[in-house]
Symmetry: C2
Amino acid sequence: MTTNDALIARRARTIGPYSPLFYDEPLHFVSGQGVWLTEASGARFLDGYNNVPHVGHANPRVVQALTEQAACLNIHTRYLNERVLDYSEQLLATFAPGLDRVLYGNSGSEANELAIRIARQLTGATGMLVSDYSYHGTTITLAQLTTGLRTREPLAPHVRAIRVPDLDSDPRPAELVLAAALQDVDDAIAELQEAGFGLAASLFDPLFSTEGMARVPEGYVAGLVDRVRHAGGLVIADEVQSGFGRTGSHMWGHAWAGMDPDLVTLGKPMGNGHPMSAVVTSERVLDEFGSRNEFFNTFAGNPVSAAVGQAVLDEMAAEQLMARAERLGTEARSAFDSLATRHDFVSAAKGVGMFLGLEFALDGHPAPELAKQVVEGVKRRGVLISRIGRHESVLKVRPPLAFGHAELPALLGALGEALDEASSTL
Amino acid sequence: MTTNDALIARRARTIGPYSPLFYDEPLHFVSGQGVWLTEASGARFLDGYNNVPHVGHANPRVVQALTEQAACLNIHTRYLNERVLDYSEQLLATFAPGLDRVLYGNSGSEANELAIRIARQLTGATGMLVSDYSYHGTTITLAQLTTGLRTREPLAPHVRAIRVPDLDSDPRPAELVLAAALQDVDDAIAELQEAGFGLAASLFDPLFSTEGMARVPEGYVAGLVDRVRHAGGLVIADEVQSGFGRTGSHMWGHAWAGMDPDLVTLGKPMGNGHPMSAVVTSERVLDEFGSRNEFFNTFAGNPVSAAVGQAVLDEMAAEQLMARAERLGTEARSAFDSLATRHDFVSAAKGVGMFLGLEFALDGHPAPELAKQVVEGVKRRGVLISRIGRHESVLKVRPPLAFGHAELPALLGALGEALDEASSTL
């Protein structure tokens, strides 16, 4: 029995055999630093996938902040603590003026739950508008609106899932695509209203990541937001993937997309792996909710999480990671465009900033097996990426934002070779 | 403007004015060590309240484990990692043989959500049986079964809340109390079945903490469990307050209470403040859920949380904290019994292990104002406690399990003086 087999057997007997693992042959990492992970065998892998370790694996500034605050005090917000206020002010300063209040949680699921809870209470409605291929968390309410992952729960009656348009795979003119997609929004909202649910909120990732980084027509996001507001719903932007400078040009995906949200949910990269999340909203929205509920989250907003959150923002500023993501993302996207030109089976290059992809199709049909083959081929060359989209036919390249110019050739080299290899098997 | 006023103003402008604070004059802590917290003024307080810092504030073993693992690797469970398996095996070894699988989360809310989600899927039912004064978390599903905290959501139609009997405040003979309470259970289950919801699960804290540490009649828990099982429901034990040796005699509250659960949810003390939680269950229950859902929690089960969890268990063993809680709890309870005898307005001494209380009543009516007065009086003497129960008339003394024999006189002294002071105002 190999070490990996032994670990897999131990997993089956503890966390169970269904806990998902990446790759045909799973990887067993024992340490990480920056954008590199080291396997038990000693082999090093370049991380082109993980967005949680935003400022790099085992980032020294984050580890120091974590250590110092944990050695000093970790306590809940029912006592006064300055650290959570320092962090809140620093975080809120990155948002537009109207988004000036923050409630903390411990995971993206908790943030989305809270945002929906607030929206339902404020509107008196329960209807939810989501994408027909999306994922927002693990709770019952979120499982009932999950469309991009296998869950036993059916879509709840008060949820409508709309197809997010993608100009890369829709051959019609953009104006037609836009008109049809907004008609879908109108229809979904009308259905919710006729069924008596009304509209509590829309919940979308401004980058449409899970959808495969859909390239939506100009005017789609604004039209969607208008229609949600007109129906009395709130707009929730799920920034769990798109936030913290991922797009390069903007700190928040909603700003990049021109989405103007009432509630913004933050997760994954926020604490560089330390479990923390937040809902950012306005004074008006928070006051409505706060005055009518005793709301308290035991762990959330503790000074250790706040210190970690500060260290992430400080590191982003010190290393100018957003500007780097913009420069590097532009360069990488241009290389992805070239790869798309070189291979017939690459139907489109996708993405923005440090969230990029290549979409695969054969004879006009999505080619998930080919995408899988490339993900495994890239892995054999020591680089981690994954795939997304409704057909799992889009490569997902979403490295830590600490990814540097020096690492780009290794990523592009591995990708280029794996594409050539895949091409030769066709 | 005092420093506290300035902090409160900053809170209002960031996390909002509704974020709850303890005490008429809130406390502003800047550091903690063991069972002591230090205010900005330099004043030290003995912690007789907080159960999250289970092995003590800023516990060196925990901080070291946190630091070392965070400096090495923090990654999700879709790669192999030995640390989470080491911890899982160590944790599961503290449960009875049938409870041999664990799923991780980041908060008690996430654990209870997952347990209910599993129960609903397994039973095909939605009905929930809870106590009529309880709290299990912040999500929508949990808000809809919250009875012990102000939430805007009404109790959901599929939830029945039963009164947990308390021999300390019910003057009838125990047999009558038991028969009436089990009749309530029968009625509630029958209602759920007649309404077509069926019974998915019961969800109770085995210590009935929020209820005010109800002293239930012998046979109540067994009768409750039998009835739930007979109706096809699963039994969920919420160990967020009662677990990790709190009772002194047993590692888990359900073992202490003779509750035989299908699912156990863990939270607060698990990571000594590091956000982590778990659902412990059986192979059969996990397999049913695992095989039918793609379930994955980004942060949960990461090696940093696992290292922290291990350090908590190791510290409990090294310092024999459970045995200490049993010895000290017995001694403290005996002192509480004496205080109950000394003051007419103390209607009962309550609790077990290191979770103790005194119930206050005047002229046969609950006396929450008196309890509040004593909590504030104890605070003025440098000791932190709180109050619970449906009337908030029960003192809540639930210190870190690291509480030692040396600290007991300070706690009892402050409590005794505050009781005398309250007595003199009557």
